[in-house]
């Protein structure tokens, strides 16, 4: 999975290259169906948009309702290598970050 994510990022022009060259573009048939239209193939951000559609939370971590069906929203932002999905569930109102880890790191405080 790391290669997939990093590969797509590294194809994404303006985004920081984080890993090996990307695999082939995900077939459209593997992506969520409409209404998820993608940027045109070859656009510098297309790889990021593709990963976003594939990886954003589809269900609420609290009540398991569909984020999309119940009018929720998940907005992705990046913190270094981490991809964070700020998510609100339109069904139960849960609001928080869902973080996709490639590696769990711990910062040791001064002691």
């Amino acid at each position: 999975m790391r290669d997939d994510i990093d590969g797509n990022r590294s194809r994404a022009g303006g985004a920081a290259p984080l890993g090996d060259p990307s695999p082939a573009r995900i077939p459209l048939s593997d992506l969520p169906p409409d209404p998820h239209r993608l940027p045109p193939p070859g656009a510098w951000f297309a790889g990021d948009a593709e990963r976003h559609l594939l990886d954003k939370p589809k269900f609420c971590p609290m009540c398991a309702a569909s984020i999309e069906v119940h009018g929720g929203i998940s907005t992705e932002y990046w913190v270094s290598d981490q991809r964070v999905f700020m998510t609100w569930c339109g069904e139960c109102g849960w609001f928080g970050d869902v973080v996709r880890y490639d590696m769990v790191t711990i910062t040791e405080e001064e002691h």
Partner: protein, 419 residues
């Protein structure tokens, strides 16, 4: 990053769209009282619809109806204003304040034709020298009397019509870091290359930012370099007032930044300020001084040697509607993500038949909003920079405002020395 559909849902404001339905639950300032000093009607565009705003000749009551007459679509702005409504200039059909057709002169009087046609109508009220309208479903909420519009002081309002969607301006209001860069670093660069001193207060580095949902929107806080959580910037902060204001101020200046969604690609952007410095003295004023501020030069380039001009460059240069399928948000954009969530949450409330955030149904005198007084730890410099290096530099009363603050400052210093 959003999908195309999510972006469209968040930015389309016309009738029948989810955002349009949400936004129709709020009051909007759409004209100034002085607009009606010489003419009784004005065409205004709001939420992708054209409206005729009018003022009755004797009672001074304001009304608002859709501009196109339901008869054959002639503009009601060129109609005849009566005390009880407006009459189309074309064939004389008359509409009352609720949009009922009360006369059709050329039709037989015994027909019920007029009962079968209705004009879209809203409600209009005056507050702070501006005409506010509500064009959503009944019952209309109370017009929220936010502090800046009703407090005592010297009022000043700059306006411009900007060719961009209102949401990209709102997202700027939950993006504190842009202050340090756009109004700090970039402004300093402009000063160095053009030979002026950019205000230092805006150049301070952000150490910490916070966003907190509150009764009226999102409270924004910041700790700047050299400061702490004990400073007003964190302890008090200031709010994005949902869904189209931002309340700012400091150093005796209170300001509401207003982003009226005219249509998907146009925003009427106002900076409404109230100047009431401690120990200041001023004449009572019933209307703000109103003026247009400029944001493009003769060659079509953005004017970026003042604070709001820099903001406008950032908003308008994103394009008429920001393509959020291309964005890459970082941690410092968490407020932007939070705002989108707030819009989605309130669209859902409206779809469920509930009142959205910030709806007020109780009579009230004033709604006080939290706003820091000691801005960036730079009171006097902040006030001067706000007036001379912001959109207020275009104000016809700019010098009077500077004098007001200078006199108040001198009085406070004198009082402190004598204490």
């Amino acid at each position: 990053m959003l999908t195309v559909e999510q972006n469209e849902e968040l930015t389309r404001v016309g009738p029948g769209t989810p955002m349009g339905e949400l936004l129709r639950r709020y009051w909007y300032p759409i004209a100034f009282e002085q607009d009606f000093d010489t003419v009784p009607t004005k065409t205004v565009r709001l939420l992708s619809e054209n409206w005729t705003l009018y003022k009755t000749p004797k009672g001074g009551k304001y009304g608002i109806v859709a501009e196109a007459c339901p008869h054959r679509s002639a503009s009601l702005t060129y109609g005849v204003v009566h005390e009880d409504g407006i009459r189309c200039g074309y064939h004389g059909w008359k509409w009352d304040f609720e949009g009922n057709c009360v006369e059709q002169p050329a039709e037989a009087d015994n027909q019920n034709f007029r009962d079968r046609v209705k004009q879209k109508a809203g409600k209009a009220e005056v507050m702070g020298g501006m005409i506010w309208v509500y064009v959503g479903p009944d019952p209309a909420p109370e017009l929220p009397r936010f502090d800046v519009f009703v407090m005592d002081g010297v009022k000043d309002c700059g306006y411009a019509t900007l060719p961009c969607n209102w949401l990209q301006i709102m997202e700027n209001s939950v993006d504190p870091h842009h202050v340090e860069w756009l109004h700090g670093y970039y402004f300093n660069f402009m000063g160095e290359t053009q030979g002026f001193d950019a205000p230092k207060a805006f150049q301070k580095k952000h150490l910490k930012t916070g966003f907190e949902e509150m009764e009226w929107g999102i409270l924004k806080r910041r700790v700047l370099e050299g400061g702490s959580e004990e400073n007003d910037d964190w302890k008090v902060g200031h709010p994005l007032v949902f869904p189209y204001f931002m309340r700012v101020g400091g150093a005796g200046i209170d300001q509401m930044q207003i982003r009226v969604p005219v249509d998907d690609r146009t925003t009427w952007k106002l900076f409404y300020s109230n100047h009431a410095p401690d120990a200041g003295a001023w004449e009572a004023q019933d209307r703000p001084v109103v003026y247009e501020y400029f944001w493009r030069d003769d060659e079509g380039r953005f004017i970026t040697d003042y604070i709001e001009g820099q903001d406008i460059m950032a908003w308008v240069s994103q394009g008429p509607v920001t393509d959020r399928t291309q964005e890459h948000l970082g941690r410092s954009d968490a407020g932007v993500a939070m705002l989108r969530k707030m819009f989605k949450e309130n669209m859902k409330r409206v779809a469920n038949g509930e009142d959205p955030l910030g709806t007020i149904r109780e009579k009230h005198d004033m709604i006080p909003l939290p706003c820091e007084r000691d801005k960036f730890g730079a009171e006097r410099e902040f006030a001067e920079a706000f007036i001379t290096m912001g959109s207020m530099r275009y104000s016809p009363q700019r010098q009077q405002l500077l004098d007001l603050h200078a006199d108040a400052w001198a009085r406070r210093e004198k009082a402190a020395a004598g204490a």
